[in-house]
C-alpha cells in the first residue's frame, strides 16, 4: 500500500491504496465519486476524464498514486454554490447528451478546451473533444453545446443569473 494525498472537489483526502489502483477507481470506489465513469481499457473513450491540477486527463490511465499531492476536479465538483457550470448548462440546453454515459468526461474535456481556447470554431471543438467517444448524439449537439457555452462564458456575456463563468480551479 502507498499513501496518496489528494484534494478532490475541494475536499482533502489521505488514503492508503494499492499502487495498481487507477485514479478512476480511487474516485469511484474509495471516495464514492461515482459521477466519473469508466468506458474502456485503452484510454480511448474519455468517459473517465477529470481535471488533474487544471488539465484534463483520462483518470483510467493515471494511477491513484501518481495523483499524490494533486488537485482533482470531477464532474461532481463542477457546479459551484448550486449553480451549474456554463458548460453543464449548455449541454442541457442544446440536448448534448442522451444516455449520459459519456457526458461527465465530455463536459470535463469541454471545460478544459474552453479554458485553452475561449472561442473555438466548430472544427476546433471537434478536434478538441476527439478523445471522447459518444455513441448516442452523433456529436452535433455536443459541438453546439460547447460553442454555446463559449458564448455564455465570454466576459460580459449574458450568463443566466447567478452563474459564474469560471473554468475549473487551476484551469490553464
Amino acid at each position: 500500500m502507498t499513501e496518496v494525498r489528494v484534494t478532490v472537489d475541494g475536499v482533502n483526502y489521505a488514503d492508503d491504496v494499492e499502487p495498481r489502483m487507477l485514479l478512476a477507481q480511487y474516485l469511484r470506489e474509495t471516495l464514492g465519486k461515482t459521477g466519473t465513469l469508466i468506458g474502456c481499457d485503452t484510454s480511448n473513450c474519455g468517459a473517465c476524464t477529470v481535471s488533474l491540477d487544471g488539465q484534463s486527463v483520462k483518470s483510467c490511465s493515471v494511477l491513484a498514486v501518481q495523483a499524490d499531492g494533486s488537485e482533482v476536479t470531477t464532474i461532481e465538483g463542477l457546479a459551484r454554490d448550486g449553480n451549474l457550470h456554463p458548460v453543464q448548462e449548455a449541454f442541457r440546453e442544446c440536448h448534448g447528451l442522451q444516455c449520459g454515459y459519456c457526458t461527465p468526461g465530455m463536459i470535463m474535456a469541454a471545460v478544459d478546451l474552453l479554458g485553452d481556447n475561449p472561442d473555438p470554431s466548430e472544427q476546433e471543438v471537434r478536434e478538441g473533444i476527439e478523445g471522447n467517444l459518444c455513441r448516442c448524439t452523433g456529436y452535433q449537439n455536443i459541438v453546439r453545446a460547447v460553442q454555446t457555452a463559449a458564448r455564455n462564458m465570454k466576459p460580459g456575456a449574458q450568463a443566466p443569473a447567478g452563474q459564474t463563468a469560471a473554468p475549473v480551479a487551476g484551469g490553464n
Binding site: N44, L84, Q88, G100, L133, R135, T137, G138
Partner: protein, 826 residues
Amino acid sequence: MTTTAEPTTAEIGKARVRKEDERLITGRSRYTDSITPPGTVHIAVVRSTLARATINSIDKSEAEKAPGVFGVFTAADLGAEQVGLPCAWPITPDQKAPQRPVLAVGRVNFSGEGVAVVVARSAAAARDAAELVEVDYTPLDPVLDMEAAAQDGAELVHPDLGSNVSATWVFDSGAAGTGGDIGEAIRTAEADSDQVVVRRRFRQQRLIPAFMEPRSCVVDPTGEQLTIWAATQVPHILRTMTTVTLGIPESKLRVIAPDVGGGFGGKIGVLPEEMLCVLLAQKLGKPVKWTETRSECMLTAHHARDQIQDLTITAKRDGTITGLDVHLYADMGAYLGLVGPGVPILGAFMFNAIYKIPALKFTCSNVFTNKTLTDAYRGAGRPEATFGIERIMDELAVELGRDPMELREQNWISHEEFPFTTVVGLTYDTGNYEQATRRAMELFDYAGLRREQEERRKNNDPVQLGIGISTFTEMCGLAPSRVLGSLDYGAGGWEAASIRMLATGKVEVTTGASAHGQGHETAFSQIVADKLGVPFEDVEILHGDTQVAPKGLDTYGSRSLVVGGIAIVNAAEKVIEKARKIAAHLLEASEDDLEFANGQFTVKGTDKGKAIQEIAFAAFMAHDYPEGMEPSLDSDAVFDPENFSFPHGTHLAAIEVDTETGRVNLRNYVCVDDIGNVINPLIVEGQVHGGLAQGIAQALFEEANYDDQGTLVNATFVDYTLPSAADLPSFTTETVSTPSTTNPLGVKGVGEAGTIASTPAIVNGVLDAIRHLGVTEIEMPTTSQRVWRALQVAKGHSVQQTPSTTHSPGAGLGSIDPNNPKGEVQ
C-alpha cells in the same frame, strides 16, 4: 393542499429540454456499476482464447488458494450443466437451436466464451485469480465462413444438430397471395429484350453495437425478492427469462434497470453472466456483481448485421420494377441470441421499401459459425434490407442509364395511393415521398451538386464528388401481437402504462418502456401534461423497475412512443373518465354537460368548474364521491397496436473521394424524415443525429474482423474504429409530417430511422463519385484502402491481397503480442 391547474399551452411539439439531464450533467447518476451493496462479492469469468476446442481439464487449484477468493466454479460445480439461455424467436418449427450454456460444458464454441467463474472480495482479486485457472484444450478447426458453413459436408459447429443451418425462412409473395411469382418475373425478364435483370451480391459486415456503458449486473439475494440490477434495455423480459432459464418464480424476482448507458439493441439479451450472478448469489447468500471490461464487451456482447445478400431485381427498360428476389445468409455466430434468428426476418418486410414491386421472394438461411453470436442492433434487419434495396436501385439506375432519384420516383408509392398494401402484405397507412424528397433536394442543392460533379469529372479533379441517395421507409412500433404470433415470436408486442393521481395533484406515470437515453421522461411528461392539462413539471415518469412498473415489454424497435406512448394516452383517457364522474358529482351536473380542457372540468355555458387536481384530492379524501365507483382516478392501460407505423425519409449525401489516397470525406448530409407528429423536436433531432452517426459509421469505419483462427482481432477501441467528433460533419436534418393513422397521437417512431437510412446513402455516394473511373462495388466499410484498391483494379493495375485480419507491429495495442510483449514501454 390542492394546487389549481395552470392553463397549460400545448406541450406536444415543444422543444423541451430534458428533465433527466440535470442528474446526468452533474454526475448524480446511478449506473449499475455504481451500485455495490454491503458485502458484495465480485466475479471474473475465465474465458476461452480459442474459437473452437474441446476442454480436457480445468485446474482451479491455484486460483482457489489466491487471497480473497470465495470459490472457483464451472458449470458442473454450479449444477448448471443443463441450463440453457433462452432464444425467444424460433422462426421455423424445425429451427435448430443448440443449448447456449452459462459456462462452456466440454467444448468452447467461440473465442471469449466463459469456461469458469471466480468469485472474490474485489474485482481485482477475482481477475488475479482468474489468471491462475489453467484450462487444457484440444483446439479444433473453427468454422468461420458462413457461406461455406451452410453447404453440405461442412465441418459442424454443433455436430449434434446435423447442420450449420439453423433455419431457412421463406416468404414468397406468389405463394402468400400478396403478389406475383418471382420465378415467373425473372423468367419473363430474361426472355424479354425489353426487360433487364440485375444481380448483385452485397455484404453486411459484422458490427459491434459498442454502447458506451459496459454491461454490468448486481444480484442481491438478501431480500425476499432476489433483486437484479442490470445494464439492460429489457428489465421485464429479463425477469421473465430468468424464470424461464433458472426456474425461480417470477414473483420472487425484481429487476431494476437503473441509469443505462446506451443499448442500441446491444442490451436486449439475457446474459450468461447475469444468470451466473443469480446462481452465485443464491449459492453464497451475498450480493454478487459483474462488470465487464471493454475488451470482454467487444468479445462477448452480441454482434450484429453480418449477412451476405444475393439480390436479383427485374425491370422493364422503361424503369418499371417487375420483381425482386432476395437470398440471404445470416451469420448467427455460435449460438442463437434472444431474438437473433428473427432479426434478418424483420428485413423480409422491408426489402420492397417504398416501391411498388409486384413480385417478391425472400429466402434467408441462418447459419452457425464459431463467432460471437449476433442479435439486434439499431434497426435490426431493416438497415440490412434498406441497404440491399437502396443499393440495387442505384445499380438498376446505372444499368438503365437513368438518374437514380428519377427511377425511384417512377417506382415509389405516390402520396395519393395511401393507404397502400405492399407485396409483403403490410399496409402503409400514410406517407408522402414526394414531399420529403422535394424538401431534401432543395436543402441539398441537388442540381448544383450534380453540376459540380460534372465539372470535377471533366477536369479530372483528384477529388471527385459523389451524390448518395437513400429514400427509405421502415416499420416501427414493434409490434401488433397477432403479427408477432404469426411469426412465431415468443411474446406479444403490447405495452403497459399506469397513471396515479396523487393527493397533491402530482401525477405519477409508470411505463413498461425502459429508457436508456431516449428521453422518455421528458416526452412522456409532455404527452401526459397535454392530456391531463397538468403542468409538465408535475408529471413524474417511473420506469425500469419491475416493482414500480410491473408490466411491460421494454424498449427496442422504435416502440416506446408508438406503443408505450399510446398506452399512456389511453391510461390518461381512463383517468379523465373517472375524474369526470367525480367532477359531475361535485359540480352537481350531468357528465354530458361537462367539458374537459386544460385540466379543467367546466359545466358548459357556466364558469363553474373543478381542476383535475381538485378531483384527485377529492378522490383521495373520499368524503364525497359518487356511489358505485371506487374513490380513485388511477388507471392502467395496455395498448396492443393494430398495425406498425411507417416512417420514411429522403437522405442525401455529398461524398468527396480523394482518388490519390482513397480517402472518403462526407462533405454534406441532408435528411428530411417523415416521422408523423413530433412530440419533442429537440429529442427527435438528437435521435436522428445519433442514428445517422451509427449508420454512417457502418458505411465508413466499423467492422469486426476475425482471423483464420477465429480470434476477434479488433477487440478494443484502439482498433474497432468508432468515429469521434472529428470524423463526422454537422448534418442538416428536417422533418415533414403525414400523421400516422394507426395511433391517436399520429406518431411514427424515430429511434432507428437515421441508422436505417444513412448507410446506403453513403455507399451509393462513394460509388457515384468514382463509378465513371470504372469502380462498380466496394465492400463496407469503404476505407481508404478499399477505395484505392478498387480504383487500381479499375485501372487494370495489379494489387496485393490485403491481410484483412492481422495487425502490423505498430499502431498501439494491436501490436503487442500478449505472449511476448517486448521492449520498454514507458
